[in-house]
């Protein structure tokens, strides 16, 4: 495992629980879009986007959770990363916010799905 080469940004408590001890995780109590904005700030700062911010077919504002991998190291601002994150933030506005209406078990399902999407990214990240 090549831990330390990437950082996990998440607002998903399940992801934090699972990775807290073994990975560099930044947990933020924020919305889906808020999380994407945090990712964008870091891309402006020179981090590289490693996983797609719109991972998963569950739509923004439908699921409240999002986890994204970015590089631990910083370089020149990566334009490709910037374009992807900007488009992703834009896309948030196309969907009505439904995040306030779920029961606990549905939220847990959303957390799980977000985790598995991230997990598939981690598998690729760790293969490097």
């Amino acid at each position: 495992m090549n831990r330390g080469k990437y950082i996990v940004l998440t607002n998903n408590p399940l992801v934090f629980d699972k990775l807290e001890k073994t990975h560099e995780v930044i947990y933020l109590e924020t919305t889906y879009e808020g999380l994407l904005r945090e990712v964008r700030d870091r891309i402006h700062d020179g981090h590289l986007l490693l996983t797609h911010p719109l991972s998963g077919s569950v739509k923004p504002n439908e699921t409240p959770y999002k986890s994204v991998l970015i590089s631990a190291g910083k370089e020149e601002v990566d334009r490709r990363s910037l374009t992807i994150i900007e488009n992703a933030i834009d896309a948030c506005h196309k969907f009505q916010d439904k995040t306030g209406r779920y029961g606990e078990s549905v939220l847990e399902d959303f957390q799980l799905i977000d985790w598995t999407l991230l997990e598939s990214g981690l598998a690729s990240a760790d293969a490097w």
């Binding site: 998963g56 739509k59 992807i84 834009d90 009505q96 209406r101 991230l118």
Partner: protein, 426 residues
């Protein structure tokens, strides 16, 4: 490869004491299909129902739709690596039961989506309002993990479809179609003047509930590869994808992939249909780069003149779609891409999450955010409990008169990105 597809038209489905097909009528022994479904101990109970076109019936939450088939000649069997042993399929003779489908339903996650209306405005949008549907609603054992449940339902659907398909083994098809592809060299010699065309199919591969399997292999672990387009007709590709009902590809769509069939229509006439290339839609950006690089490389190595690229899903795959299109065009291979749009309820938002000028030939399956009112129907197969929670449904979803206000997103197959429907947008 040469595959003979025998079509057996099903005119009606009825429950009966014995399963059989007679005069185009499928008789299903409920007891027998239940036993097939319950072979997996993770499924606690299953109920079967029949929904016919025009009936006041709503099926939800739909997981997969499968067309029953049986392989009567040639290597392997239907759903290789999943139900049948691993063996290369796509040649010989296969029978398909046309006009019907096995529909699996059940709440795998709390926000499970997918509606099939057999009548009304919803029926105009979902292609599965036109099939006679044998619906199975599976309940899992207690405390099962979601991914185990998904897998159990996925396999139960394939088992039941295979069981039904087997009933046709000794029948005589109503119609036979022959699909034949050439090897590279044969094709060059046989059709020296026709443009060499392939179909690039992007498979959903992002993780749990977002997976597709190729001969049983999880598509996120493949590098782009080549298939004979006849392989899909024997179930080489199956769906494990439960999210984004409107633009996910149910197994039915994989079996009947419209791009494959419409390219075959033109094969030897206006073009030479060389092969199908499959690639994936992973979440890791470096995976995307590798897969799109490889896809473009294969197009180049195969000396293609043109390709049709189809997408599956929303957001993340937009990036794969544009990367594929751009890189394939850069190799001098002409592309047409098929997608759908999320342009907002008012149609004013940017439809895709990525764009490039290389994508100058786009076919769209329509705006998935369009609002549609679904009237109250007499019967629900499955459960409506979660309809208010499904994608595209809103606060006011359940209106006073019992009708539902939803976005097209929730209707199974409504904005399919393989070009399965007539819906479009401008």
């Amino acid at each position: 490869m040469r595959l003979e597809m025998g079509h057996i038209y099903i005119k009606d489905i009825q429950f009966a004491s014995e399963s059989k097909i007679e005069d185009g009528i499928l008789y299903v022994s409920e007891e027998a299909v239940k036993a097939v479904a319950l072979e997996d101990e993770k499924i606690k109970s299953v109920s079967f129902d029949i929904a016919k076109p025009g009936e006041s019936v709503r099926i939800t939450p739909v997981k997969d739709v499968i067309e029953p088939r049986v392989k009567v000649e040639g290597r392997g069997g239907i759903f290789p690596g999943v139900i049948s042993k691993v063996d290369t399929v796509g040649e010989g003779k296969t029978y398909a039961l046309k006009g019907m489908a096995v529909v699996t339903a059940g709440k795998i996650v709390g926000f499970q989506e997918g509606i099939i209306d057999m009548t009304g405005p919803g029926a105009d949008y979902t292609p599965f309002s036109k099939t006679l549907n044998l619906v199975m609603v599976c309940e899992p054992i207690d405390n099962i993990k979601q991914h185990e449940y998904e897998k159990a339902v996925r396999f139960a659907g394939f088992r039941v479809a295979t069981y039904i398909g087997e009933l046709a083994r000794d029948l005589t098809p109503d119609e036979t179609k022959v699909y034949e592809t050439c090897t590279i060299k044969e094709g060059m010699e046989k059709y020296p003047d026709l443009p060499r065309v392939a179909y690039v199919q992007m498979l959903q591969s992002q993780g749990l509930l977002h997976d597709t399997y190729v001969y049983g292999v999880d598509a996120k672990k493949i590098v782009p590869t080549i298939l004979s387009p006849t392989e899909i007709m024997d179930g080489a590709i199956v769906s494990g994808n439960c999210v984004s009902a409107c633009d996910k590809n149910p197994t039915y769509v994989h079996l009947n992939n419209p791009v494959v069939h419409d390219l075959f229509e033109q094969h030897g006439k206006t073009l030479n249909f060389v092969c199908q290339i499959i690639t994936n839609e992973n979440v890791y950006l470096a995976d995307k780069q590798r897969s799109s690089d490889w896809t473009a490389k294969l197009c180049k190595m195969l000396d293609l003149d043109g390709v049709i690229v189809s997408q599956e899903g929303f957001g993340n795959p937009d990036t794969d779609l544009i990367m594929n299109c751009k890189k394939i065009e850069a190799e001098g291979v002409k592309t047409v891409i098929i997608t759908d749009e999320y342009a907002g309820r008012d149609g004013k938002s940017q439809s895709l999450a990525d764009a490039d000028q290389a994508a100058d030939a786009v076919v769209t399956g329509g705006n998935a955010n369009q609002v549609v009112i679904l009237p109250k129907l007499d019967k629900v197969i499955g459960t409506l409990d979660y309809v208010t929670k499904i994608a595209g449904a809103s606060e006011e979803t359940l209106r006073e008169d019992g009708s539902l206000e939803v976005e097209l997103q929730v209707l199974t197959g409504a904005t399919n990105e393989t070009g399965f429907n007539k819906l479009s947008a401008r």
